[in-house]
């Protein structure tokens, strides 16, 4: 589904270039649930952005569903994002003046789905998230967990092949976190690839596969709980 070959990326800095990704090789198959772990500055968010076509890369290759993503125009990137990818953010990033229903329906708007159809599908999706009774609420009237459910519903509305979640539980307490992870596991169970960036070991533990990044390279990659020792390195690297 996703294949990265020797991805390199640097950010321009005052003193020169800051290399963030130093040659990433990664294959993620359809239906996997992958956690990307690493400390701040390890490049995990950048990797997610590259995967999500939100950011370009300097060299290397990226195939999404067998299509080369190198040198994509802004417009093509927007189309692939719209067709293949769904995003879940740490800060939810719901649009404040739109109701839960309108937020969920927004990606369909960009796919030029008729309004009535958008509303219907958005309502169904909110129903699946157990949020249909909150459809007319503004984000400010929802709790953190509810906001993230709406955000996940928004990510799922276009039936994407891959969900990219950037610290989806970062702003939530532990009870709500496990609820959200439960939802993401259900999403994954329906066959959608889920990629979660996190620095929390117990979140990574709930995924099938964990990739650990350090200084822009993959240092560990394997089944969650086996390759990565959650309590040891994971906990230390946060501090």
């Amino acid at each position: 589904m996703l294949a990265l070959r020797g991805i390199e990326k640097s950010y321009p800095l005052a003193g020169g270039l800051l290399p963030v990704l130093k040659g990433i090789d990664l294959n993620i198959a359809q239906g996997e649930m992958v956690a990307i772990m690493g400390s701040s500055g390890s490049g995990k968010s950048t990797l997610l952005n590259v995967l999500g076509l939100l950011d370009g890369f300097d060299s290397g290759g990226y195939d999404l569903d067998g299509v080369d993503m190198a040198g994509l125009s802004e417009k093509q990137a927007a189309r692939y994002r719209s067709q293949f990818l769904g995003f879940v953010f740490q800060s939810f990033n719901l649009i404040s003046f739109k109701t839960a229903l309108e937020n969920v329906a927004l990606p369909l708007f960009y796919q030029k789905v008729p309004r009535r159809e958008r509303q219907k599908r958005a309502m169904e999706m909110l129903g699946k998230m157990g949020m249909d009774d909150r459809a007319d609420h503004l984000p400010s009237e929802l709790s953190g967990g509810q906001k993230q459910r709406v955000a996940i519903a928004r990510a799922l509305i276009t039936s994407p092949r891959v969900i990219l979640a950037d610290e989806p539980t970062g702003a939530l307490d532990s009870t709500t976190s496990s609820e959200v992870m439960e939802v993401l596991r259900e999403v994954n169970a329906s066959g959608i690839t889920v990629i979660i960036v996190t620095h929390e070991a117990d979140i990574a533990a709930q995924c099938d596969r964990t990739i650990r990044l350090h200084d822009g390279v993959i240092i560990e990659d394997g089944r969650s709980g086996e390759v990565v020792e959650p309590t040891a390195r994971g906990a230390r690297s946060q501090d």
């Binding site: 999500g52 950011d55 802004e74 927007a78 649009i95 003046f97 276009t158």
Partner: protein
């Protein structure tokens, strides 16, 4: 592009900060208000002057004389050039082919008496064509006939003011009045627009020459240019001017002694002046509007900055650059158009409210025509589009990743 979603979003940004929106809108509204009011005043001024021109038919040439200022052919300056009947006869018969003409002679401040009332009015001696040349709408009775001139009849046609001041409601037709002590019969009365004219008492030129000073002097001459265009009337002016200068030995450069004025040319000059004024008003209004548009651009730039994260999220959700661009541009256009329309309405309302109190000799019927209105609206849409476009380009350049990282 123009769907419900777009409008909901525009409504949101507009109402999110009502004071800011109102102030921005005010600058645009004020710009269009000033433009509209000034255009209206410009038209009012033009209407006033045109109405003043209404005194005289546009296709006339007025011939006047004065004292010489330059010596010529052995003659000293400061000699009064007096036109006489023979000049008028020669000019109309030999020099030019005017379809209508009239000599004119005026006695300012003459005493006019009716029964026990009396007052001072100018008495003007003219010929039968004169009412066509100066457009005197007859309100009752008749105008002077060729017969009156031939017989040197003591008849007169009086202006509206005399009806009010001397006759007091009484029917003036057939009444006898004394003009400087000599009895004349009133045969008609008239009422006209413009500043002058309604105090005039018109008598046959021949009668005036005979009764009041027994001479053959003519003070002014009015000639109709008929259907001639500006070129033709200019040629007529030149012919009359040349003839008088030759006959009365006036230096070709003496601008005071012989003055031949073409109304058509003068009117054309006024037209040019007013075109200039209108252009000037457009420039001022345009710049005022520009200031408003810059205000809108400024606000849109702030809106874009405020919504950086939102725009990034939208892009992550599949929004194309075009949809972001049109969102911002339409918002700017909507803002300028709505506030501009309010300014337009306020401007038209102001003109309508002020119009009844603004009647003056050189000012009448301030108005804004459809063309000005439509042009103003078109200018608004363009101003809105431009003021939205620059910030929108910035919004488009926002990369989703940078937006999401933005705090």
């Amino acid at each position: 592009m123009f769907n419900r979603e777009t409008w909901i979003e525009i409504a949101h940004t507009v109402t999110a900060n009502p004071l800011r929106t109102a102030l921005t809108g005010l600058s645009v509204g004020l710009g269009i208000f000033i433009l509209v009011v000034m255009q209206g005043l410009g038209f009012g001024l033009q209407n006033g002057v045109e109405q003043d021109f209404g005194d005289e038919a546009r296709n006339t040439v007025w011939v006047r004389t004065g004292r010489t200022t330059l010596p010529y052919r052995g003659r000293q300056p400061n000699r009064y050039v007096q036109m006489r009947n023979e000049d008028e006869q020669r000019i109309t018969e030999q020099v030019v082919d005017a379809p209508a003409w009239s000599g004119r002679r005026m006695m300012w401040g003459s005493t006019v008496g009716y029964k026990n009332e009396q007052g001072n009015y100018p008495i003007v001696g003219v010929e039968p064509d004169f009412d066509e040349l100066e457009l005197l709408p007859l309100m009752g009775g008749r105008w002077l006939h060729a017969d009156d001139l031939a017989k040197e009849s003591k008849v007169c046609v009086v202006g509206e003011n005399l009806l009010d001041e001397l006759f007091k409601e009484a029917d003036p037709i057939g009444a006898y009045v004394t003009l400087n002590g000599i009895t004349f019969r009133v045969v008609g009365h008239f009422s006209k627009n413009g500043r002058w004219g309604n105090s005039m008492v018109y008598v046959p030129l021949t009668t005036m020459q005979r009764v009041f000073n027994g001479s053959d002097e003519v003070d002014q001459m009015v000639l109709s240019t008929g259907e001639l265009d500006l070129e033709g009337s200019s040629a007529m002016v030149e012919a009359v001017d040349g003839d008088l200068r030759m006959r009365h030995s006036v230096h070709p450069d003496d601008v005071r002694a012989v003055r031949v004025r073409d109304n058509q040319e003068e009117y054309a000059m006024f037209e040019r002046v007013f075109t200039g004024i209108r252009l000037f008003i457009w420039v001022i209004g345009g710049f005022t509007l520009l200031a408003g548009a810059i205000g809108v651009a400024n606000i849109m730039a702030i809106v874009v900055k405020e919504r950086t994260v939102e725009i990034g999220v939208r892009k992550a959700l599949g929004a194309t650059s075009g949809s972001i661009l049109s969102l911002i541009v339409i918002e700017a256009i909507a803002l300028t158009l709505i506030s501009g329309a309010l300014g337009l309405i306020a401007g038209v309302a102001t003109l309508n409210a002020v119009a009844p109190y603004a009647e003056h000799d050189y000012f009448a019927d301030p108005e804004v025509n459809l063309r000005v209105t439509l042009t103003a609206l078109a200018v608004l849409v363009v101003a809105g589009a431009i003021s939205g476009f620059v910030p929108a380009l910035r919004a488009v350049r926002i990369r989703p990743i940078e937006a999401l990282r933005y705090e």
